[in-house]
């Protein structure tokens, strides 16, 4: 609210600045700290004797001869087979994004152009589906998938993620399509286009911002998913997030914490870069649903 009438006192301004800086520290410092620590050895980042070692790199110097080491990364990517996990993540993400955009744009366009009552009910059902905890759906999948012997492979997971993603994609694209004036495709219909041609040649070209936003959210869902990928994929096909969990170790076998730290950084960095690049789309996507109330 920066306009002439609203004058802020200096005290309020200082208070505001301090608040924002504190919040940004709370929000960002954990990531900066993990990034910093991923170049240390375990004895430093998880120091039993003195936390200051994580900064002075006491043990890293002794063990590797330098203040920074990329050992954790090289080991996790080769020995820990993180390369395989990232390959799987890329496959899953690419397919989930393209399939859910294809299905979602068709469905949402139909919903936004329908004047029938059932369109409203479909949207309501989608909202209920959106509220389902993923783990309850997974508990429904496991048994049939075992019986059909399609458990553990990537295609199954891709289809499941696409389906889980549909309710949100539909709502998001529906609210975007609603903003495109009806007259645009109606005039095309009068000129003799079929609905599909109108959709393909008239609507899609003006819809790119909406499609990019929906794509970003499908990407984040597929990339970040833990529940579905951890339970529906076998060890061999694990994507990044379940792989990170497997590095943590269990009661039965000890994990390798530094692998987990470097894997967390490797998995988070591309996501941050992507969001930095598409920040405006992410925000418009989050608010698209909200504006409707």
């Amino acid at each position: 609210m920066d306009y002439g009438l609203d004058t802020k006192s200096t005290r309020l301004k200082t208070f505001n600045t301090i608040f924002i800086i504190t919040w940004l520290l709370i929000a960002c410092f954990p990531f900066i700290w993990t990034f910093w620590g991923s170049f240390k050895v375990r004895a430093d980042f998880f120091s039993r004797s003195d936390w200051w070692y994580a900064i002075s790199a006491f043990n890293t110097l002794i063990e590797t001869g330098g203040k920074f080491t990329t050992n954790a990364y090289t080991e996790a990517w080769t020995e820990g087979e993180f390369w395989k996990a990232s390959k799987n993540t890329i496959i899953v993400t690419v397919f989930v994004v393209s399939i859910s955009l294809f299905l979602g744009t068709l469905g949402a366009y139909a919903l936004s152009r329908s004047t029938e009552k059932y369109a409203f009910w479909i949207l309501m059902i989608a909202l209920i589906f959106r509220a389902m905890p993923h783990i309850t759906l997974v508990s429904g999948y496991l048994f049939p998938f075992f019986e059909l012997q399609i458990w553990g492979i990537l295609p199954t997971t891709i289809v499941v993620l696409v389906a889980i993603n549909q309710p949100f994609t539909l709502w998001l694209l529906y609210s975007f399509f609603k903003t495109v004036p009806k007259e645009l495709d109606e005039s095309a219909l009068i000129d003799g286009c079929s609905y599909f041609q109108a959709f393909r040649h008239i609507i899609m070209p003006v819809m790119w911002p909406g499609v990019i936003t929906a794509g970003l959210f499908s990407l984040m869902l597929a990339y970040n998913d833990f529940t579905v990928t951890a339970l529906l994929l076998n060890q061999e096909n694990h994507t990044m997030v379940p792989k990170i969990q497997s590095y943590l170790g269990t009661n039965q076998h000890e994990g390798n914490l530094m692998w987990a730290v470097s894997a967390v950084v490797s998995a988070t960095a591309p996501l941050f870069m992507l969001v930095m690049f598409f920040q405006r789309q992410v925000i418009s996507g989050l608010t698209a649903g909200a504006v409707k109330g």
């Binding site: 609210m1 139909a110 429904g140 496991l142 309710p167 925000i283 608010t287």
Partner: protein, 342 residues
């Protein structure tokens, strides 16, 4: 749009949702009425020079056979729902008769796995949701007051906790709060208690997970509120300033009423998300002192010996009922609006 065209446009996505969201819910419902087979035992007579002994061993062959014949397990009706790991009706009746005071009764009941998880889930929702709304609103107000030029990077920094997956987010915090991490070690020094750690206290674990929840979800509330603040009309605010309204009064009487629909939207979404809390429990390795409903289901599904489909399904069905109760007011309101609109 004609019905036929609508059908073909909607078919792919509708099919995907029916097959992989609608059917699984039904499948969960069916599974919840079955329980895994008991192991079939047989008596084996062993004779040696000193006499004969009869021992009972598991008949692996028969057990496998019946598992293959009826993979779903044996029909159990509502048995799984009422057993000790779920609603525990018998146990509650027993506690009611045996315990002397009401407090002791509550103590006993809240130690049962399902009620323990339910209480944690509800506590988490109860503390996280309002705080997320409040913090998100304050950050939005505060960022809205800084110069436009530097807002971009500030917003990017603010939404970071939201875009990482909950598992990674909780791990990143856990590594700092753990007794060997930077914050944990400093708190130990400060309190002069070398044994103080997250895992040692149930209350501390709960507080940490709740703080994590607020940290993770506030950015979402912020983004929505921030966007809503951009649409607040300026004229009434200017009028209020001229009339001498204080900043607080302006927020209370002009800004809040304007963004009220958005507040209910954020509250609903974050309530839905908080109710499924699960990954932070794994990230903080807090299974010992904090369990949520979703975690119970996960635990049944990764069971080492036999996957407890029935038990997981029963908990799932009750979670779905919980979600339905949460959503009911919204659905009823929408239905009423829809009816009056016609």
């Amino acid at each position: 749009m004609p019905n036929k065209t609508f059908f073909w446009f909607f078919l792919p996505t509708g099919l995907a949702m029916i097959l992989f969201i609608g059917l699984p819910i039904i499948s969960t419902g069916i599974q919840s009425f079955y329980a895994q087979h008991d192991q079939i035992v047989k008596e084996v007579k062993k004779c040696d020079p000193f006499g004969c002994t009869v021992s009972i061993v598991v008949d692996n062959e028969e057990t496998t056979k019946i598992r293959e014949a009826k993979p779903l397990g044996k029909f159990n009706g509502f048995g799984t729902y009422t057993d000790r790991n779920h609603l525990a009706l018998d146990e509650i009746k027993k506690f009611w008769n045996e315990t002397e005071s009401f407090g002791a009764f509550i103590d006993q009941v809240t130690n049962l796995p399902f009620y323990k998880a339910l209480i944690f889930t509800l506590t988490y929702c109860l503390f996280v949701t309002p705080n997320v709304l409040l913090l998100g609103f304050i950050i939005a107000l505060s960022l809205n007051a800084v110069a436009r030029k530097i807002r971009g990077p500030l917003i990017f920094g603010t939404i970071l906790p939201m875009i990482v997956t909950p598992l990674v987010g909780s791990l990143v915090l856990f590594w700092m709060i753990d007794s060997q991490g930077i914050i944990g070690a400093n708190i130990q020094n400060l309190m002069n208690d070398p044994y103080l750690s997250l895992k040692s206290s149930k209350t501390l674990t709960w507080i940490t997970i709740i703080i994590y929840g607020i940290w993770h979800h506030s950015p979402f509330a912020f983004v929505v509120f921030y966007a809503a603040l951009q649409t607040v009309p300026q004229e009434p605010i200017e009028a209020a300033i001229i009339d001498g309204a204080s900043r607080l009064q302006r927020i209370k009487h002009i800004v809040l009423p304007h963004i009220y629909p958005v507040v209910t939207f954020v509250a609903l979404i974050s309530l839905m998300d908080n109710f499924r809390v699960f990954e932070p429990i794994i990230g903080f390795s807090a299974e010992g002192s904090a369990q949520s409903l979703s975690w119970l289901i996960y635990d049944n599904l990764v069971n080492e010996e036999v996957i407890l489909f029935g038990s997981a399904a029963a908990t799932s069905m009750m979670t779905i009922i919980g979600i339905a109760i949460l959503l009911a007011p919204v659905l009823i309101r929408t239905w009423k609006e829809f009816k009056t609109a016609r």
